[in-house]
């Protein structure tokens, strides 16, 4: 029963040169025939098995963005023009580990969102946990202290059996890892839709803060500098397909199943974070890269490609968790909690001393050389000799065919205007309760109570607020008044109906959510979750969404700083709803001025900002009441969004509003219910003349928010809206004694009934 492995002999460059015809499993590694041919052309010989391993992972869709690159270019091409004399706030743009934005005071903020969808389906806890770990290391790599995380989660139907397997694991993985790192989780999304049943979406966003002059980049410059691998030892996790290279065959009964999903150790990462921050503070590295997807292959080639160009590595020096690992496996291993630094010889001693203080293993693997080749040896024999740019930057680029889905017209044509709508007060009341208790709109605290939102002591707003907000440390390390706000949003149904508009609606919602708190939106990150790029209909959705997002960001004047593409989210040949998830980051000068969502002030006037139209395409009502998806999503008006944001930000700064809440899924009633439940106040609502009560209560028209205006500020507030041309309509009044939501002439729901109904859904489903 022993599991002895029969190894292939070491495939050195010398062996490769002398055996040009040897067949290689490039197809099993996911490389196309012409890609393999190109590798041979680049090298002038067949690749060694180690080189083949490196090319296969670096040229994978995940690492090379080969199908998306031609589209993503628009984010740079359409970068918003800055006004004359205005400082460019974007310190680092697309292409690095994460974008960096100047927030003033010598401080900068870096943030990025990334997916970990497939691993989270296979192994929910570890998949989600390492998703958090990976994005946190990206932020750390920029030289920043991670200060908050958000998670955007999508699962199959809430009642589905597999959702009960996947969701609890994912949630405890996100929590288990983030809580143990001491990162407050300040917001996110939880969405259920049958299309995600066998393909959940787990997108994690991390924010970090750093001195504006302390940005670290992933480059290996200066021949003679040392290349140091530090953090966890390299193990056999996440190797995936590489095993076909390392072993000719396995003994049958002793076959070893390697975990395809990486296993996380948050304690190791916590220690690594503190160790790195101490190293950064002492300015001991000239370049740094984390080891994520494609592990050592990616870190070495990216560092070398962005730097001088040459690097020499003795791969056999890498500390291993499993001594039997072959070089190909070491190169592809995705073991977590590892970093690679470039350190000048005179800093090495100090560097190693900090690592020793934190009990972090650090090993000099090689040096930066003045050539333009990345050379790796294994016990003295050369196994890799490649131009690193051909792996990191010059991978294949595909202009994949696009085709509008055949059913797109039919889908848009089925407008659903004939769906039965509630008319009487009693029917409207039932609809209100049905929406509030639906899994997508019900209380999410079953999930969010598993996340530490307090740690670090800077959390000003956290879920269920519209955006998470944390206070930043000042340049002196003391608490400042400056804060950042972040929101992540997406809407797969809107995108299915119109990916261009859907992406803009997601952007608009995240933008609005940030502005509602009083913060000024500054920058965008995105996680583009789609089906297979080889399906022209999916590729059309992708192209349209990217175009919509790029145009939208240009119009709103906020640049895309980075992001992530996740393709192949499908079950069989059925793709998920196209789901771009958009993160918007904003800044607020004084966190004490933030606007919360809770309705608390007795007698405050409730205003609805924006215009309400009869828009139910892709709405939560159509989904919950009729299981229907068709028509067109709500109209997008980004100029209106800008105007609304300006009003909300000014109102917050000048203290004109006590509370504000964005209107989105479920429309006015759901927003009102959330704000009342948060603040314990009741509301008496009047349906304005000339609008159908159903449309008024449940339409999902974009560009809207509710605000509570204290009576003393009412004139100033309405004058401001009038002067700026923003529709503002008084729709009700807050009443502490009311203890319910009363829609005059229609229905009343007592607060207690609302709370019980709203809070019961998720616990009933997940225990």
């Amino acid at each position: 029963m022993t599991a002895t492995r029969r190894r292939t002999p070491l495939d050195t460059v010398q062996v490769a040169e002398s055996s040009p015809e040897q067949s290689q499993p490039y197809a099993e590694l996911g490389l196309a025939r012409d890609e393999y041919a190109r590798i041979k052309e680049i090298l002038g010989r067949r690749p060694t098995s180690s080189e083949l391993a490196m090319y296969s992972v670096m040229w994978s869709e995940h690492c090379s963005y080969k199908s998306s690159k031609v589209h993503l270019k628009q984010f740079a091409d359409k970068k918003p023009a800055k006004a004359a004399g205005e400082k460019d706030i974007l310190l680092v743009g697309m292409g690095e580990n994460a974008g960096v934005v100047d927030v003033g005071n010598g401080q900068a903020v870096t943030f990025k969102i990334e997916s970990h969808n497939h691993p989270s389906y296979v192994e929910p806890y570890q998949g989600a946990a390492t998703g958090v770990g990976g994005i946190v290391r990206d932020i750390l790599t920029m030289g920043a202290r991670p200060i908050a995380v958000l998670d955007s989660l999508r699962f199959g139907a809430a009642e589905a059996a597999d959702t009960a397997r996947v969701l609890p694991g994912v949630v405890s993985g996100v929590g288990g890892y983030g809580n143990c790192l001491g990162l407050p989780n300040i917001g996110g999304e939880l969405v259920f839709d049958p299309s995600y049943l066998a393909n959940p979406l787990v997108n994690a966003l991390c924010v970090g803060v750093l001195p504006a002059d302390g940005i670290k980049l992933a480059k290996a410059e200066g021949p003679g500098s040392l290349v140091v691998l530090f953090g966890a030892r390299t193990g056999g996790d996440g190797i995936g397909g590489a095993s076909v290279l390392a072993s000719a065959s396995f003994e049958r009964e002793g076959e070893r199943k390697r975990p395809a999903v990486q296993v996380g150790d948050p304690f190791a990462e916590k220690v690594l974070i503190e160790c790195c921050l101490e190293i950064f503070a002492a300015d001991l590295v000239s370049g740094i890269q984390d080891l994520g997807a494609a592990g050592l292959s990616c870190a070495t080639t990216e560092l070398a490609a962005a730097g001088t160009g040459g690097m020499h590595i003795d791969l056999d020096l890498a500390p291993l968790r499993d001594e039997t690992l072959a070089p190909e496996e070491i190169l592809m291993s995705e073991s977590q909690e590892r970093m690679m630094a470039v350190v000048t010889p005179d800093n090495l001693e100090a560097f190693l001393k900090v690592c020793a203080k934190w009990d972090v293993t650090a090993t000099v693997l090689g040096t930066v050389t003045d050539g333009d080749r990345l050379v790796m040896r294994w016990h003295g024999e050369t196994i890799v000799d490649v131009p690193p740019r051909t792996l990191a930057h010059e991978g294949p680029v595909y202009r994949r065919p696009l085709r509008r889905p055949y059913d797109q017209d039919a889908l848009n044509g089925e407008h659903g205007n004939g769906l039965p709508r509630p008319r009487t007060g009693e029917q409207l009341r039932a609809t209100a309760l049905k929406l509030v208790t639906s899994p997508n709109l019900a209380d999410k605290s079953w999930v969010t109570d598993q996340y530490d939102r307090y740690v670090q002591g800077n959390t000003v707003l956290a879920q269920p607020e519209d955006a998470g907000m944390v206070r930043l440390p000042g340049p002196d390390g003391e608490d400042s008044d400056v804060g950042i706000a972040v929101s992540v949003d997406g809407n797969g149904r809107y995108c299915r109906l119109d990916p261009y508009a859907g992406a803009q609606l997601a952007l608009a919602e995240a933008y609005r959510n940030v502005a509602v708190t009083g913060a000024r939106p500054l920058a965008v990150t995105n996680c583009l979750n789609f089906g297979s790029p080889e399906d022209p209909a999916v590729m059309w959705q992708f192209a349209e969404a990217v175009r919509g997002l790029a145009d939208g960001c240009q119009q709103l004047g906020i640049p895309v700083t980075g992001g992530n593409v996740s393709f192949y989210n499908q079950t069989g040949t059925t793709a998920i709803l196209p789901t771009p998830v958009i993160g918007v980051l904003g800044v607020i000068d004084d966190v004490n001025r933030r606007t919360p969502m809770a309705l608390r002030t007795d007698g405050a006037q409730l205003y609805l900002l924006g215009e309400t139209r009869d828009e139910f395409g892709g709405s939560e009502w159509a989904h919950v009441a009729h299981g229907f998806l068709g028509g067109r999503p709500p109209a997008v008006d980004l100029e209106r969004e800008r105007l609304l944001a300006d009003v909300l930000i000014n109102a917050s700064r000048d203290g004109l509003v006590d509370a504000a809440h964005d209107l989105s899924d479920g429309g006015l009633f759901v927003a009102l219910a959330e704000a009342c439940l948060r603040g314990l106040a009741g509301v008496r609502l009047v349906v304005p003349e000339g609008i159908d009560p159903f449309v008024f209560l449940f339409s999902e028209s974009a560009g809207r928010a509710i605000v509570a205006v204290p009576r003393t500020e009412e004139v100033r507030f309405t004058d401001m809206c009038t002067a700026r041309g923003l529709p503002a309509q008084r729709i009700g009044v807050l009443d502490i004694l009311e203890a319910g939501i009363e829609v005059q002439g229609q229905f009343r729901i007592p607060m207690a009934e609302l709370r019980v109904a709203w809070a019961a859904t998720l616990p009933a489903l997940f225990g």
Binding site: F267, E274, T459
Partner: protein, 230 residues
């Protein structure tokens, strides 16, 4: 001279800087202490902060208690040094046998973070002197191993000796026996607390400022003087 309150950072400590902030806000001088140093920098009191020391991989607090700093803390605690263990710090105090009982996985087997109402049951300790007996507070709780357990005679003794410092009100968040949120040693200088008072020091970042009293209590505590010369 202001009172010096130390906070021990273990590998995996998370709420250490938050405890230092709370100490500063309460008017004391915060002193960061490192787990690897035996010397406690002449502090007048010590806080063992929340977090997951050493990843809590063996048992919560089980490894941290053997650190050099803890040797000195244990010595000090036995001689009257005021010591407050919060969350993971409470677990360390139990592992170090400065407090009886143990903390086990929450009854619902999940991490729980929520604003919790508690009641101060004993104000005669180094860390609760600023409160009234029976005073109710709202303080965040966040733990996965927060269920306080001990055998019946120990629980009965704790009750009889008035050593239950705080109790959960409304919903018991973690299955703690007798709703116990915090206990103290016989002398009252060592307190273990599962809720996080360092996260209730102002309305901006916490649900209340109710937690500040723990850190200000120690400033005027009679326990400070009793330990001079120890």
């Amino acid at each position: 001279m202001s009172v010096r309150v130390g906070v021990v950072t273990f590998p995996g400590s998370l709420d250490d800087r938050d405890a230092l902030r709370a100490i500063r806000l309460a008017g004391a001088e915060p002193v960061p202490l490192w787990h690897g140093d035996k010397w406690l920098a002449d502090v007048d009191a010590v806080v063992l902060p929340g977090g997951f020391s050493y990843g809590d991989y063996l048992r919560c607090g089980a490894i941290a208690r053997f650190s050099p700093a803890m040797e000195s803390v244990i010595d000090g605690a036995r001689n009257g040094l005021p010591v407050l263990g919060i969350c993971n710090g409470f677990q360390v105090l139990c592992e170090a046998h400065l407090l009886p009982g143990a903390l086990i996985r929450n009854a619902e087997r999940r991490f729980v973070c929520r604003d919790q109402r508690i009641r101060i049951e004993r104000s005669a300790t180094a860390w609760t002197a600023g409160y009234d007996d029976g005073q109710e507070l709202v303080i965040p709780i966040k733990n996965i191993d927060g269920g306080y357990v001990a055998d019946q005679p120990t629980l009965d003794a704790l009750e009889a000796e008035g050593r239950v410092v705080a109790r959960y009100l409304d919903t018991n968040p973690n299955g703690s026996y007798r709703d116990i949120a915090g206990i103290c040693n016989e002398a009252g200088n060592v307190v273990g607390l599962m809720p996080h008072p360092e996260h209730a020091i102002d309305q901006l970042t916490g649900p209340s400022a109710d937690g500040l009293g723990f850190f200000s209590s120690v400033l005027t505590s009679s326990f400070l003087t009793s330990m001079v010369g120890a």
